[in-house]
């Protein structure tokens, strides 16, 4: 059984300045995700924390806030784990 809320640890810097390496975040699996939300999604064989830049149907374009270090991804709706609702 998966809890509706998870605590996760942020790794790497592509979400700087919103999130830093080592930050802890609370992720809600029940929240609806829309453009500009920060989400955790499955991609490249790992969990990614990124901001949704836009959506096209079930396709989510996600990218980091730190444009110098960010790589963009496109993920399906089913790959979105949840929305980041709080930074600890």
């Amino acid at each position: 059984m998966r809890f509706p809320i998870s605590i996760m640890k942020v790794r790497e810097q592509s979400m700087f300045p919103s999130l830093n390496d080592g930050d802890y975040i609370i992720v809600s699996r029940w929240s609806k995700c829309k453009a500009n939300d920060v989400v955790v999604a499955k991609g490249s064989g790992m969990l990614l924390v990124k901001r949704i830049s836009k959506t096209e149907g079930a396709r989510y374009y996600i990218s980091g806030d730190n444009k110098q270090e960010s790589k963009d991804f496109v993920v399906g709706k089913e790959e979105i784990i949840g929305k980041v609702i709080f930074k600890l």
Partner: protein, 165 residues
């Protein structure tokens, strides 16, 4: 360090929270299709030299050595075309740039480069170069940079795409 962070780190040691990666891939921002064009010109040039050598029927040790060298360079540069295009496509191109037309163009370049390795036809090499020039024009267009197509100064005497600077 705040008290919340200290508590979270202690909790992490016990509970081992999952990690979410703000993944970075060191995109250095330095991309240019010029190397792909030069490599495509090299493939064309090698096919020209191979054709000249074949016409001469030079089966001497020296002649055979030249032929092997031409083929080797052709192989390497056809692969270099694929590498350079793949890096721009994989690391530079944003999802919104990836239209069906450009997907097809990249696919065609991969196939044309493979064909250029398989045979020694000058037409095949010219077809590869033409696709790479189109790709170069697309690349500079994504950066809002005007380009100029001009005859190169290489022995191939084929065209090359330059950004207007």
């Amino acid at each position: 360090m705040g008290i919340t962070r200290v508590i979270m780190e202690k909790a992490d040691r016990i509970l081992h929270f999952e990690e979410a990666h703000a993944h970075c891939d060191i995109p250095c921002g330095i991309y240019d299709p010029h190397l792909a064009q030069v490599a495509a010109h090299t493939v064309l040039r090698m096919d020209m030299l191979i054709a000249d050598l074949a016409k001469s029927n030079d089966m001497s040790q020296e002649g055979r050595n030249k032929m092997i060298r031409y083929v080797q360079v052709k192989e390497q540069h056809a692969e270099l075309v694929k590498h350079e295009v793949r890096v721009i496509w994989g690391d530079y191109a944003k999802p919104e740039m990836a239209t069906q037309e450009v997907h097809q163009l990249v696919f065609d370049i991969m196939k044309a480069a493979s064909k250029a390795r398989q045979d020694t036809s000058i037409d095949t090499a010219r077809a590869l170069l033409a696709k790479v020039l189109q790709f170069s024009e697309w690349f500079w267009k994504t950066k809002n940079v005007e380009v100029k197509r001009a005859k190169s100064f290489y022995p191939t005497e084929a065209e090359i795409v330059y950004p207007k600077v």
